[in-house]
């Protein structure tokens, strides 16, 4: 008879086996392939750093900038919406649980439907924004929200923020709920107004959660392909071509796996670096 310890050792390995196998074949093996490909130059097939040198050129840098703009911009919008929304939905309200769950619904909406919503709202001639803008005289002529540089970036950013709002909202609301009423009351008794209470008591308490949720959401939006691809396809004139779209174009249009892999590696490393920073900072804060 085998000992209990050996038995649990074997059972443990058997139980994690399928997960380890699938992770190794579907995630790790492709990742290793990406690392290897990033050193292989298209055409000549020679090993080297040519693909990384290409990253300093005029195709990559604008896409990096677009990605940063859209991911940082969307996180700012998310935080600026989520904080007041969490404050509002943390107060006693009729139907509060229902309202909270409605706010989190965008997380579950498929990106193809998110794109439909923002394509339709922003449609140049028939979209609601233009119709209201023209009817009220705010716009003198229809705005092509998806076809004009600047507007397209703003619109894509807004769509990312809408999809990402629930996670940031949930984290901030939870942090708010962990703030004890006595502290807020004490500030009030000491004569602090609502704004002073928020700035000096509530906001410092929320800051670690805002930072963590913001960075996680930013990493996610930085690597997200779907929404931008579905809304603008990277246009107009490349102004919303983010790194995921550039990667896609390099792989499936230019058929350059080396450059596509180098981009994929950058997206991965950027996420890891952002996480490392936020953990270093939050560890020091604690």
């Amino acid at each position: 008879m085998i000992g209990r310890r050996t038995y649990f050792q074997a059972a443990g390995l058997a139980m994690v086996g399928p997960a380890v196998f699938l992770t190794a074949t579907v995630v790790l093996a492709p990742f290793v392939w990406v690392v290897a490909q990033s050193f292989i130059e298209k055409g000549s097939g020679t090993l080297g750093l040519a693909n990384f040198a290409w990253l300093t050129g005029p195709a990559f840098l604008p896409a990096l900038w677009n990605s940063l703009l859209i991911s940082v911009g969307s996180v700012l919008v998310e935080v600026m919406l989520a904080v007041p929304l969490a404050l509002l939905l943390n107060r006693p309200l009729a139907g509060r649980a229902f309202l909270r769950s409605i706010v989190t619904i965008p997380w579950a909406i498929p990106t193809v439907a998110v794109a439909t919503g923002f394509l339709w709202l922003g449609n140049t001639n028939y979209g609601l924004f233009n119709q209201i803008g023209l009817a009220t005289g705010v716009f003198s002529e229809p705005i092509s929200f998806l076809g004009e540089r600047g507007w397209a970036t703003a619109w894509v950013t807004l769509a990312h923020a809408w999809k990402g709002l629930p996670l940031v909202f949930i984290v901030i609301l939870a942090a708010l709920q962990s703030l004890s009423n006595e502290i807020v009351e004490a500030a009030r008794v000491d004569g602090a107004g609502p704004l002073a209470t928020f700035n000096n008591v509530v906001l410092p308490h929320l800051m670690p959660s805002i930072a963590l949720a913001g960075v996680l959401s930013g990493i996610y939006n930085f690597a997200l392909f779907d929404i931008t691809f579905l809304l603008t396809g990277g246009g107009p004139s490349g102004s919303t071509t983010t790194l995921p779209l550039l990667l896609y174009n390099q792989a499936f249009r230019a058929l350059d796996m080396g450059r596509a892999s180098a981009i994929g590696l950058v997206v991965f490393l950027a996420g890891v670096a952002a996480l490392a920073v936020v953990f270093r900072v939050s560890a020091r804060a604690r």
Binding site: Y7, F8, A11, G12, L13, M15, V16, P18, A19, L22, T23, T25, V26, V27, A29, P30, F31, W33, V34, L81, L85, L89, P92, L93, A94, G95, L99, S101, I102, V103, I105, P106, A108, I109, P110, T111, V112, A113, A115, T116, G117, W120, L121, Y126, Q131, I132, A135, I170, V171, L212, L216, L224, L230, L247, M257, S261, G264, V267, F268, V272
Partner: protein, 279 residues
């Protein structure tokens, strides 16, 4: 102002704010009930549907493709849900309860898995499936989706197993039950809520996925709903009846995920929180 009035005016204000937040989706649903014949109108008075008109749904569903894509999506998402649970539940239990060598490595592997972005591995997966002759294979898509859910589902279930008192299992062992019997008769019945939450997550991830389905499927007979909707309804200059059908199709494709999420929100939200702390 009385307390009561203040309570109700604040509640009304909150309801309006929440309606504005959800508006991009709400607007699709509202627009889906407009008449397809007068869907595109320059007159603001035509923005809202005059009456509940289901013609857009009838037209969209009559396209056999939409029904077919939704059936495909249902199959892929259901299979992903079952496979994910079959893989994540034992992993979560082993990590939570069994002291075995290699445990720490598996922990780290899951974090590494979670840190690799989908877009980074999409191209090599396509290359791999081409090499294996498995492009357009729905079982291959299920395998890919299931692997993507592993970290999150494992963490959801692990939190769940951590909350079950160890005494329950020990009582089982001291009554002479084997590990398999403990799992079957003690742990499994207790873990139903956790399995439902993790299963809902896996289903939603698979049902909503655009990137992998778009890259790994290129034959319209094997499209899932998001890819089919993209391929057939969105384009540069689509006519107004197609716009109307796009609203109906987008509403329909959103419903399963939104409903599942609403049902299991309580469990999932807790897991997002512990996940975001861990992740």
């Amino acid at each position: 102002m009385s307390r009561r009035v203040r309570h109700w005016s604040r509640s009304t204000f909150a309801a309006v704010v929440v309606a504005v937040v959800i508006f991009p989706f709400l607007w699709i649903v509202i627009s889906s009930f407009k008449s397809p014949d007068r869907f595109l109108s320059l007159d603001l008075a035509d923005a809202l549907p005059r009456s509940l008109d289901f013609t857009s749904y009838a037209l969209a569903l009559r396209r056999a493709d939409l029904v077919g894509w939704m059936v495909t999506s249902l199959g892929v998402a259901s299979a992903t849900m079952l496979l994910s649970l079959a893989i994540a539940a034992p992993t979560a239990f082993a990590l939570a309860r069994l002291r075995f060598r290699g445990r720490r490595t598996v922990d780290n592997l899951l974090i590494l898995h979670y840190a690799v972005p989908s877009i980074t591995i999409a191209v090599p997966l396509f290359v791999l499936l081409v090499a294996l002759g498995q492009v357009n294979s729905l079982p291959a898509l299920v395998l890919v989706h299931s692997s993507l859910t592993i970290p999150f589902c494992t963490w959801v279930l692990r939190d769940f197993y951590d909350a079950i008192p160890v005494e329950i299992e020990e009582a089982g062992y001291s009554d002479g039950a084997s590990l398999v019997q403990v799992l079957r008769y003690l742990i499994l019945p207790l873990s139903v809520p956790g399995l439902l939450a993790a299963g809902a997550y896996a289903f939603i991830l698979s049902w909503n996925d655009f990137l992998f389905a778009f890259i790994l499927l290129n034959d319209q007979n094997s499209f899932t709903a998001p890819v089919g909707i993209h391929a057939f309804f969105t384009g540069r200059n689509i006519e107004q009846s197609l716009w109307a059908q796009l609203m109906a199709a987008s509403t329909l494709v959103s419903l399963p995920s939104a409903i599942l999420f609403a049902l299991f929100q309580r469990h999932l939200v807790g897991s997002f929180l512990s996940g975001s702390v861990r992740g």
